[in-house]
Subunit: 365 residues, 2 copies
């Protein structure tokens, strides 16, 4: 049972959102009995320790630390030059000098040093994106009683994650904002909508399945349970909370988001991720063969993002959002979580009964 | 209420599937109290009359006739030559002569002549894909008491369809097999998963919403109701029925379909449609700028499809399928419908109660 596994009271996980989540957001979500998360891909080991301490200053509830576990390819000079050439006209448009871009902090994969910090911090859960780190690192976490979660975009990935020791699988539907978790799949064109993904994953694995992507209200939570989930991970809806580190421009863009306002793009980091469509996506993408592999592409895009936002323009901003942004409303995170939880918990009883009738994966309810 | 509107007993519509559905399939579905459909895009007015007579020979229940309502652009000689050039290597691979391709029957839009046949036949419902025909044709149908349904791939399309007189909206999720219904939207990259689409459409229109795409078992039906639907349209799952006109090769491919086994392609007809990925999609697409506009692209692809199938190869076959094919099982259509219906109807009571709790569109339940 997911609630027991994670020692939470309501089956909602606030999605980690590198760059937009915050200690305050995670804390508020935890206060409501759900699982707050903090994306750590951009944090050092020391920053992770500090953040965990900050979370614990106000709540003693379980929380989740999230990590990327991509493989870093050595940088390729020719590819780098091509990416520079590709971006040069955009730099010129914004009157920026592409030859004066400083080194930026790269999104780094989970490694021994970070693992040590996590062992010290002892969060209830750690979630991974882009697969899993080396088995010995997983073993270290599990030995300490830390629950290991990871995202799957297909049945194949879900089965692989279960086989490699995951305690629960996050089934990430095509609708989700931010980075696609895909790590065995290679075709973005064949990524699967949550409606089709969830029951197929639930049928294929025996660990609890957490639904992610396109869920922003209680209807979505109920539907996810009907399709075989034991919990949901909600991202975009939490971007609307005052605790999220979302700039006024980004916030306004989210408030105006429509169902068809997003696309999956590799233009910001080199990996496919869903965000609001803006001038950059329209003119350069949404997909571009020239983009450097993850995470290198991001360094040269950062100045465009900053200059765009400084000029009050959405044109080059990285506006991660899922397809259900239109369902969200701006509430403090604790209030939002309690609202979602109370509405959803009322419904779970009915759906649990319902699910048994149709032979759904009742173990996971 | 959808059941009253269509005078059916169970809120399931068998999706029309041009080329694969059949009189026998529609009849079996109707016999179970659901709404059987027949795709008429490839039928003449006389064939429509004959088919309707055949359906009525065995059942007196309501059925649905489905039409395309695209605008036919005049053929463009240069574009045609480019398409020919693009396909030539594929013809050579199969030892076919691209200069000896006969005229094929084109998918034609709903027009006065067909409307006359429909007025005579008087089906309970007519459903449209790619928008709606001229208002005077809609008026003619509605004057006769025929219910007008049409597919929307976005909130904007749903609102437009309601404004133009539709009695119910089919919300077609990204997961659906076959042609994308899009008619106001132009970006396939921004098409929406059913999980996010359905509640946003349900919030935006006041007519009943029918969920389509990725539904192949009772879990999906329940989830669709939780998200605001009053009914579901199921396609791929009916392709597994013995009544479907699905060749043995196609059938075997469906039986082996995985969640990630499909993509949206314009390579067969010129319009985006979801099908199983094969050599043709992998090598030439899934998207190709050179493809002639719908419906013209299909003529030159037909010989490749036929030759491929004759040679026992899936390479060039048009294998429409949605992302939930993996959930389907081969049952006779009446049995399948009754199974889905009885499992779903058991659940509706619970979900109806549930939906009220969360303030969902309870009018539509």
């Amino acid at each position: 049972m997911l609630l027991d596994l994670l020692q939470i009271e309501v089956p909602i996980i606030q999605a980690p959102m590198a760059g937009s989540d915050s200690v305050a957001l995670a804390r508020s979500v935890c206060s409501a009995g759900a699982l707050g998360s903090l994306a750590c891909a951009l944090l050092s080991a020391r920053e992770i320790r500090d953040a965990a301490r900050e979370i614990r200053q106000h709540v003693s509830r379980p929380f989740n630390l999230n990590f990327f576990c991509h493989t870093m390819q050595p940088p390729d000079a020719v590819a780098q030059e091509n990416w520079r050439k590709f971006l040069r006209p955009h730099y010129e448009r914004l009157a920026l000098d592409i030859d004066a871009v400083p080194e930026a902090r790269l999104r780094l994969p989970f490694d021994d040093e970070v693992c040590e910090a996590v062992e010290e911090v002892l969060p209830k859960a750690v979630s991974f994106h882009f697969g899993l780190p080396a088995p010995r690192l997983i073993d270290r976490l599990k030995t300490r009683g830390i629950r290991v979660l990871a995202s799957a975009t297909s049945v194949r990935e879900a089965v692989w994650l279960e086989d490699h020791g995951c305690d629960a699988i996050i089934a990430q539907g095509f609708e989700a904002g931010g980075h696609r978790a895909l790590f065995l799949e290679t075709s973005v064109a064949s990524q699967v909508g949550l409606f089709a993904l969830l029951p197929q994953v639930a049928d294929a694995v025996s660990v609890p399945v957490i639904a992610a992507g396109g869920i922003a209200d209680a209807r979505g939570i109920v539907a996810a349970f009907a399709l075989g989930a034991s919990g949901v991970q909600i991202g975009t809806a939490y971007l609307f909370c005052p605790e999220a580190r979302v700039s006024p421009l980004y916030r306004r863009a989210l408030e105006h988001a429509t169902d068809t306002g997003t696309a999956i793009t590799n233009l910001f980091t080199g990996r496919p991720a869903r965000g609001l469509v803006n001038r950059y996506l329209n003119e350069a993408g949404p997909f571009c063969e020239t983009a450097l592999p993850f995470p290198y592409a991001a360094t040269l895009v950062a100045p465009l993002r900053v200059a765009s936002e400084d000029a009050g323009s959405l044109d080059y901003m990285q506006l991660w959002a899922g397809q259900a942004a239109g369902l969200a409303s701006a509430l403090p995170a604790e209030e939002l979580t309690r609202k979602l939880a109370s509405e959803a918990l009322d419904l779970l009883g009915s759906v649990r009964v319902a699910a048994r009738h149709i032979g759904a994966n009742s173990k996971s309810l």
